[in-house]
Amino acid sequence: MATVHFTANLRRHVQCPSTEAPGATVAEVLDNVFAQFPFLRGYVVDEHGALRKHMVIFVNGIAVADRRGLGDPVPESGSEIFVMQALSGG
C-alpha cells in the first residue's frame, strides 16, 4: 500500500486528496487512485498513459525513470508517492 500526494496547484482544478492505494508499480498505484477520481487521470498522464511533459512523480524521494509507462516499482509497504508539476507559466 502506498500513499499518493498531489500538489495544491492540482487540487485547484480537480478532486485529488492524498490517497492510499495498492500496486506493485507506479502505473498500478495510480490506476487505483484514478478509479476513485476518474478525471484526475487526464491531469497527470496523457491519453496514452505517458506522464505529461511538465509533470514529475517521486517514489520515496526518487523521480520515476519510466515516464512513458510508469513501470517503476513501488516498495510494498509504507511508500510515499508525490505527484507534482513544474512551476512556470504566465
Partner: protein, 373 residues
C-alpha cells in the same frame, strides 16, 4: 429575461457580457486565472462549453447546463495510440507532430437536426465529433488517416490545427473545415469521406511548385453566408479570397486598403456581399496599420472596402485580433471584437462605430455571441 449574451474567452478566464437596458455590461469571469481557448453555447441544448488549456495539466472541457452558474468537467477528445511500427509524423519544418491533444481550437454545434451534436477542431489537426453533448468523443479517422495529412504543418503554432468548421445550413452531413496549415476539406457524407478543395489559393512564400497545392494553404479563417451557403469568404495568410461555389474555387480580392493581412472574417448571413475583416500589417509585424485599430467592411462582394475606426484605439495602438475574436450575433446583428491587448469593443451599426466594453481584459482569444439557431 434577456438572452443577448457575449462570451469572451481569454488568457485568464471566461468573461460574459450581457445586454442590459442601459447597454452591454461585463460580468466577473468564470475560471479566473485559467487559459480559455474556445467557448460555445449550443443552440439546441442551451449548454455552454468552455475549453481550457491548463498547460502542465493538459487540455480540459467544461460544460454548464445552467448558463454558467455551475460547471462540470466532461471528457476531452483523445487521440488513438499510434501503431507500434508507425513512422513518426515529421512535418516539412522537421518537427515531430505528437499523437496527443494539444489544444481545442474551436467548438461548433452540428446541424440543428442533429440534436446535441458537437464538433471540435483541435491541434495537432484532429477533428472530433460528439453525439451526446460532449459525454464522449470520436476522432474522425477518415480525415486523420488521409495520407496527405502528412503535408500539413503548423502556422503560428508548432503543430497544425483545425480552426473553422462550417456545417451547411440546409444539409446536415455537409461539412467544410479549414486547417492552418492544411487548406480546406469538404465532406458530403457527415465525415465518412473527405476531399481537399480550394483551387486558386496561393501560398507565395513557398517554392513555386508548391504554391498552389491546396493541402498546404495557411487559411486563417473560413466563413460562409448562411443565407447563400455557396458564398464563402476566407482570410488567408496571403490575402483575402472569395468563393462562389462553396469553397471549390477561389479568387483573391485585390486591392484591399489598408491591407489584406489579418486573421478573422465574418459574413453577413443575409447579404453574401457583406463581410468584415480586421487589417493588420503582414506578416512578421502583426500590428494595425499606422497604429490604428480598424475594421474593414465590403458591401459589394469585395469590389471595394470601407475602413472604420470610430471608437477604436489609435494612433499608437498595437492590438492584434485573433481569428476567433470577431463575431456577429445571429439573433441581433451586433458585432464584437477582442484583442491581444485586452481590448473589447462592440458595434451595433454594422461595424461603422464601436463602443469600448473594456480596455483591460487579459489577452482575448475568442468572442462569441449566444445564438438560438
Amino acid at each position: 429575461m434577456n438572452q443577448d449574451k457575449l462570451r469572451i474567452a481569454t488568457r485568464k478566464g471566461l468573461f460574459t457580457a450581457g445586454r442590459q437596458a442601459d447597454g452591454w455590461r461585463l460580468d466577473p469571469p468564470a475560471f479566473l486565472g485559467d487559459n480559455v481557448s474556445a467557448v460555445m453555447r449550443h443552440p439546441v441544448s442551451g449548454a455552454l462549453y468552455a475549453a481550457l488549456d491548463h498547460g502542465h495539466f493538459g487540455v480540459k472541457l467544461q460544460r454548464s447546463r445552467d448558463d454558467g452558474a455551475t460547471w462540470e468537467e466532461i471528457p476531452v477528445p483523445a487521440y488513438p495510440s499510434p501503431a507500434e511500427d508507425a513512422e513518426p509524423w515529421v512535418d516539412i519544418m522537421g518537427r515531430t507532430i505528437p499523437d496527443s491533444l494539444q489544444l481545442i481550437w474551436c467548438l461548433e454545434p452540428g446541424h440543428p437536426d442533429q440534436g446535441e451534436r458537437l464538433w471540435a477542431g483541435t491541434v495537432p489537426g484532429g477533428l472530433f465529433r460528439s453525439d451526446d453533448g460532449g459525454d464522449s468523443w470520436q476522432l474522425v479517422e477518415s480525415l486523420w488517416n488521409d495520407p496527405s495529412r502528412k503535408k500539413w504543418f503548423g502556422g503560428g503554432m508548432d503543430y497544425p490545427g483545425i480552426h473553422s468548421i462550417l456545417v451547411h445550413p440546409d444539409r446536415p452531413g455537409d461539412i467544410t473545415i479549414a486547417i492552418s496549415c492544411g487548406g480546406i476539406w469538404h465532406s458530403a457524407d457527415d465525415g465518412a469521406t473527405w476531399e481537399s478543395i480550394g483551387q486558386g489559393l496561393e501560398a507565395p512564400y513557398t517554392p513555386p511548385e508548391h504554391a498552389f497545392d491546396p493541402v498546404i494553404q495557411d487559411v486563417h479563417r473560413l466563413a460562409r453566408c448562411l443565407g447563400e451557403p455557396d458564398r464563402m469568404w476566407l482570410q488567408h495568410h496571403a490575402g483575402i479570397y472569395r468563393s462562389d461555389d462553396a469553397g471549390r474555387n477561389w479568387r483573391r480580392i485585390q486591392p484591399v486598403s489598408p491591407g489584406d493581412f489579418g486573421f478573422p472574417v465574418v459574413v453577413d448571413p443575409s447579404n453574401a456581399n457583406r463581410a468584415w475583416f480586421v487589417p493588420e500589417i503582414k506578416d512578421e509585424h502583426r500590428i494595425p496599420p499606422d497604429g490604428q485599430v480598424a475594421v474593414n467592411r465590403t458591401d459589394d462582394g469585395g469590389a471595394s472596402f470601407t475602413t472604420y475606426r470610430e471608437g477604436l484605439p489609435g494612433p499608437l495602438a498595437y492590438d492584434l485580433v485573433f481569428r476567433h475574436a470577431l463575431d456577429r450575433g445571429r439573433d441581433h446583428g451586433a458585432i464584437a471584437m477582442g484583442s491581444t491587448t485586452g481590448g473589447l469593443w462592440l458595434s451595433e451599426d454594422d461595424g461603422a462605430s464601436w463602443q469600448t466594453l473594456s480596455a483591460h481584459l487579459p489577452p482575448v482569444y475568442a468572442v462569441r455571441f449566444d445564438s438560438t439557431h
